[in-house]
Symmetry: C2
Subunit: 436 residues, 2 copies
Amino acid sequence: MPILRHTALLALCASTLTCAAQQPPAALSARDSDPVKLGWMQGSPPPPDKVIRSTDANAFQFPRMRWSVAHMRELLPTVEVSRGLGPPSPLPYRLDPQIDSVRFTPWGNSGPMTWEASLWKNYTDGILILHRGEVVYERYFGALKEDGQHALMSITKSFTGTLAAMLVAEGVLDEDKLATAYVPELQGSAFADATVRQVMDMTTALRFSEDYADPKAEIWTFSAAGSPMPKPAGYSGPDGYYAYLRTVQKEGTHGDAFGYKTVNADALGWIIARATGKSVPALLTERIWSRMGMEQSAYYQVDGQGTAFAGGGFNAGLRDLARFGELMRNGGQWHGQQMIPAQAVADIASGGSKEAFAKAGYPLLKGWSYRDMWWHTGNAHGAYTARGVFGQAIYIDPAAEMVIVRLASNPVAANGANDPWSLPAYAAVAEYLMGK
Amino acid sequence: MPILRHTALLALCASTLTCAAQQPPAALSARDSDPVKLGWMQGSPPPPDKVIRSTDANAFQFPRMRWSVAHMRELLPTVEVSRGLGPPSPLPYRLDPQIDSVRFTPWGNSGPMTWEASLWKNYTDGILILHRGEVVYERYFGALKEDGQHALMSITKSFTGTLAAMLVAEGVLDEDKLATAYVPELQGSAFADATVRQVMDMTTALRFSEDYADPKAEIWTFSAAGSPMPKPAGYSGPDGYYAYLRTVQKEGTHGDAFGYKTVNADALGWIIARATGKSVPALLTERIWSRMGMEQSAYYQVDGQGTAFAGGGFNAGLRDLARFGELMRNGGQWHGQQMIPAQAVADIASGGSKEAFAKAGYPLLKGWSYRDMWWHTGNAHGAYTARGVFGQAIYIDPAAEMVIVRLASNPVAANGANDPWSLPAYAAVAEYLMGK
């Protein structure tokens, strides 16, 4: 059933730690899997074995995935998040070639490594470092160019969470109300007695497995529901993300523990849409994307009803994500204008309950927390980050006045596969920049 | 077979006079069919009877089509034509409210009408008039906004033809060579013994019916081949536009007569791709779209192999099309830079063989011709135009120093249904502007 599989793999891209099981046994190196070198989708038409199409199950599997993440709109219907029609805002440059040589010690037993080597190790497609608002480092690899857009996977959730935090700060959304106060259709689902705040922080208790090794895992039904492709003959499941959300069942007690489940972000997107009368892409356009002098319009993949995938379907350009990270670092101000209420940014930057987070049992993320769909490191710099599978990150280090954006296509979905070579690298660059 | 039907209707959108047969017997007026007023795709999710999805046969039929033409990317996979990353080029404004009152006499038996009334009569979605490079008139209706993109239907062909004319002027493409010199795979098809020039001017003799009333018409096979959706079970036809082109059969003698067949534009797109090593969207980005300070990126719909629909799949913003029209009016120069060789623009602006054109028997287009996939009116002003079904037009009147861009969603595909209320209206505005 290729249709079901491909969209499940898209949702995989959006979430989860368990999909590490999808890891190719002996993955090609970053250099050997370079999507340009491998010739995907080159030629008119491409040779049959080099065609990537969304209806093929392997379109979102390594190594083809290294091309797909930079060309999602060519595979799927999408809705624009417009940059507006004005000039792009300038990003000042102060490139520092020394950064390539910054050394760090990866977590685990391996020896020291340079920043530059870490980019290859982590299958980086694009990386940009801002220090005090200036670009000190920027590189593109593989299929991503400066005028391209890359799949953000679960970074999407942080945009959903930021919009919700804005609406809470503005009093449009009451975080103490039940989800059903905004979306009555959630009555009968696990979300019925969850508060908006529990959805925002993913402390809901949901029966929702993202274990791709289990053919009965809920992720498969979710993915089939969200596919924009024609439903297969005999399909009788829910049609669309919203229809799926109504079927999610409860497992446990809301508010007890952090449980990372993509569907929370889609439920939050629905709540946002009902509270504002605007779709998530329309609101993001109106409130942020069209107001900051972004260089490029961005986009979401949509389901068969035109609903954006608020849990993992956002795609954008590297520099524009850096602009957004800098906006966050500056407390929601951009060129003197308050784009996001300072209170909302402060809420995100303060992090969430470490106790609730610890119950989720992430071995590498001791002392972390999750708030407004952002991850907080709990480190001495107060760093917090938006994260997506295969290595996507917007990493904000307030103490170092640094923002790092990384877009990547690691063969392994789970960030546990790149954290040991990225989080300490970020910390080392932060120290380097602070010492300058 | 909804998949076959929907894409056939897309191809319908791309071409043909015969699809007037699709006309609803008593269509709603422009005001009554306003897509915002009718509520298509509003709500989260939209009510079931207001959902438009590409897999529904009626997605591209009036009145739903009035929403779809402004949201093609939300229904189909698309490839970007990037505006680049620079600032938009300024479009100076000198709006003239008197234009609304300009009167003209429609062709046929009806009495005089105002310019403003003609816009409603023709189901206009967006209209812009440039006079001497200044915007003297601009309006948006229905689902199109200034920051939106609209389906251009067969205006797409004029972009394909312009690229080819550029390459001919530059010596990259030899118009006297056979199509097979560039695309050997066309051996065995009707294109095998056609010259590049015959393809560019559609004087090929092809067995290709775009008669939608005939279930055996070739347009159905073409559309099924080009669908990006999964092929239905048991499908054994060609897969992709290029594969289809190889099957086109000859009917008559090349070079004798103009015969408007969409597949010529797709064959030309293939020739261009092979001559340059670049896809049509990539070449259009590189040579024009990223160099003119366009306000918005544009896009093409693609088939299952990622091939852009060079015969009808282009979508762009109203003002950017005006910029392109002005580029043509200025002999290929834009802000002092020669974007298109003057020789190529002159070739387009001079028109083609009136004799070959007359053989096609268009009752309303006496004295017209077709050259480089542009239509030439043969009138005293030397006006020439890019045209697409449902009322799309870029109309360039050199004598009046005027460019008109109209995007529309007329219930009737064939331009014969709006020419009587648009071509004389354009002429009247030209006279008005010349008399100022």
